[in-house]
């Protein structure tokens, strides 16, 4: 889709963005806008809530109802927005640091509660904004400013985390797989209940430079060669899957979401 057609969703007066040229954040943002456009959603019925980080700056550029909140707290704020305006499509955007370390608690509880939110994780495997410290998704043995000799901690797999915490829509794509990304974001927004899209993205400025891929194309190349589809992954052994990015739709199921249960309970309690 032509970028021009999507400009109407952006606050162009806030340009240029703070993002480094070639940052994956731009790709994710475009994929999101394309999904919104395809779904023909009304601009004023969408609320986008973000935390703090490079990725979270997205809310500054989006011409929807937006809220740029605190580091790690976007999901909690978004929960409030959803409760007050259940008819809104409420989307949360944030980095892997924001959503999985400092805000990890809110993430698992939103999944458990199955509240109707769409969480888009801009997963660049590092803290971009503060200068390349390792995050909870930095793979073992990779380098970061806080891991000059290689990372020794085990990373979270955002997809597995979401699945085990009870999320009802879970998918993963990388910024290389643009069309897939649009599709997953679209499905996620349409889905009733909590939906999580883990988007593997490039922070070439930090993750890339620390790990021998300083140019955006090198990271995209890396995503291309190292991604395997879920279908294929199911035929592979654990060793074969080592270091691979499994992309696909991992779960899509209808379950009563929080707002439905809440209304049900209200009715019961009031004897209606």
């Amino acid at each position: 889709m032509k970028t021009k057609q999507l400009l109407k969703y952006l606050r162009i007066d806030r340009w240029p963005t703070v993002w480094c040229p070639g940052c994956g954040n731009g790709i994710i943002l475009k994929a999101f806008l394309e999904a919104v456009d395809q779904l023909k959603l009304k601009k004023d019925r969408i609320a986008v809530v973000s935390g703090i980080g490079c990725s979270s700056r997205a809310t500054g550029y989006l011409d929807f109802n937006t809220m740029h909140t605190l580091h790690g707290r976007a999901i909690a704020f978004a929960t409030g927005v959803k409760l007050a305006r259940p008819e809104f499509k409420v989307i949360v955007m944030g980095g892997d640091g924001d959503l999985a370390s400092i805000g990890g608690n809110h993430f698992i509880h939103a999944c458990r509660r199955n509240i109707d939110l769409t969480v888009i994780v801009f997963n660049n495997m590092i803290y971009g904004m503060t200068g390349g410290q390792y995050s909870p998704t930095t793979p073992e043995e990779e380098y970061a400013s806080t891991a000059p000799y290689g990372h020794i901690e085990k990373p979270f797999d955002i997809v597995k985390l979401a699945l085990s915490a009870g999320a009802t829509y879970v998918a993963r794509a990388t910024v290389y797989h643009y069309n897939l990304l649009v599709r997953y974001i679209k499905e996620a927004i349409e889905h009733k209940g909590v939906s999580v899209v883990d988007v593997i993205s490039n922070c070439h400025t930090y993750f890339g430079r620390y790990n021998g891929m300083p140019e955006p194309y090198q990271m995209l190349e890396y995503f291309k060669t190292n991604s395997v589809t879920l279908q294929k992954a199911q035929t592979m052994s654990e060793e074969e899957l080592e270091g691979k990015i499994v992309i696909g739709q991992f779960r899509k199921e209808e379950k009563p979401c929080y707002m439905d249960c809440y209304r049900e309970l209200q009715k019961k309690a009031q004897g209606r």
Binding site: I52, H68, L70, H71, G72, S101, I102, G104, Y127, M129, T130, G131, Q133, Y134, P136, S145, T146, P148, Y149
Partner: protein, 394 residues
């Protein structure tokens, strides 16, 4: 003003200066989470750890809440533990900041002052430190990178003194000091090591012969008495600070006190402030003195415990006092102004007094602003009940 021997000094940022103080202190444990403008302190320190220059156990935790918690745990176990933060990081630590003080754990924490959100702002003001003003921590404020370095070292001794046992925040202005380069005279490593000594273990958790518990339920039976002891500990800090400062002077030749008077001998108009703005104030004092105005400055090094007596000593009988605050207290007087005004209630000859809020969210303060505030005082144009603003669009 501190005399720094340029030949013996190195040009470093405030962050590098503080990180080097931490290197020389070599705490057993450092737990931290990155936040602008604190980040470079921890980055420098992490490099010392990675290069094996220090033997510190360093934990890059998943939030400031965890950073302060880890440091409290380490300190309770008898370790010397440090962290550093800014703004929202400090705010996220808030509940444990109180735990540290009430558990009497002598943690030293550089705070690189930054405006608290919202709206989001990464630049300097003192709203972060002021939010912790009543938490029971000793709060020191540095004017220069040299002071940030010195106060970090000095703070260890003050915090760990047996009669004090309180945590200390060493405040340095975000970006202005943390990222600004100034000459700093470093002390030799061994001198610092000897000065800070080995930490005394006071009721450590891991003393299996004498098991203790930290933080048990303390209701209306003893909570009040424990709070009274914290009040007492602050009094002790006030008593002991001059002694610690004297010992620091012996090793460094640099003299610290609760406050620093600048050209006060015959000054009729005095400006009071915290942090790096004092350098600009001193510049303006020199400039206005050349024109014959009897102006001077009083820098506050220690904000908590508040050195009321010293303030009375220096301000009693002046014609006017202008207080500059880099934070506001919405619906009440600005914090430093309120404290100074309250101290002057007991003065025998009360000066006229005026309140100026400046520099919120990193808004620049320039000599002309300071001159303007001085001129208000000189022209008899101060209103005790009016909060004014420097450098604000209205």
């Amino acid at each position: 003003m501190m005399n720094i021997d340029l030949k013996k000094s190195k040009a470093v940022t405030g962050a590098e200066a503080v990180a080097n103080a931490m290197r020389q202190i070599e705490p057993h444990v450092v737990a931290a989470y990155p936040i602008t403008p604190q980040t470079p302190i921890v980055e420098y320190f992490a490099k010392f750890v990675a290069d094996g220059v220090v033997r510190t156990e360093m934990i890059p935790v998943e939030s400031e809440h965890s950073a302060m918690s880890a440091v409290v745990g380490a300190a309770a176990a008898g370790a010397r533990a440090m962290t550093a933060t800014s703004a929202n990081g400090l705010a996220l630590m808030h509940e444990i900041v109180y735990i540290a003080a009430s558990s009497r754990l002598p943690i030293v924490m550089p705070v690189v002052n930054r405006a608290l959100s919202g709206p989001i702002n990464i630049h300097c003001d003192h709203s972060d430190a002021m939010a912790e003003r009543d938490s029971g921590w000793i709060q020191l404020f540095a004017e220069t990178n040299q002071e940030a370095y010195d106060l970090t070292i000095l703070a260890i001794r003050l915090a760990e003194h047996e009669d004090v046992r309180l945590p200390v925040m060493v405040n340095l202005d975000g970006f202005i000091l943390s990222h600004g380069v100034e000459p700093v005279e470093f002390l030799p490593d061994e001198v610092v090591k000897e000065f800070v000594g080995k930490p005394k273990r006071v009721y450590p958790l891991l003393d299996t012969e004498n098991p203790v518990t930290y933080g048990p339920l303390d209701l209306y039976d003893y909570y009040f008495e424990h709070k009274r002891q914290q009040v007492e500990a602050m009094e002790h800090a006030k008593k002991l600070f001059p002694k610690v400062a004297e010992e620091f002077e012996k090793i460094s030749g640099r003299k610290y006190d609760f406050v620093e008077p600048y050209k006060l001998d015959d000054a009729e108009y005095v400006m009071v402030a915290l942090g790096s703005t004092n350098s600009t104030i001193k510049y303006v004092v020199d400039w206005m003195r050349e024109e014959g105005f009897k102006v001077g400055a009083l820098k506050i090094w220690m904000f908590r415990p508040f050195p009321k007596e010293k303030i009375q000593y220096y301000l009693n009988g002046r014609k006017a006092v202008v207080v500059l605050d880099r934070s506001a207290s919405f619906g009440a007087e600005a914090p430093l102004y309120e404290a100074i005004k309250s101290a002057l209630y007991e003065a025998t000859i009360r000066p006229r007094i005026g309140s100026y809020v400046y520099g919120l969210g990193g808004r620049d303060i320039v000599p002309e602003h300071i001159r303007k505030a001085f001129m208000d005082a000189i022209e008899g144009n101060l209103l005790v009940d009016e909060q004014r603003y420097l450098g604000l669009r209205e």
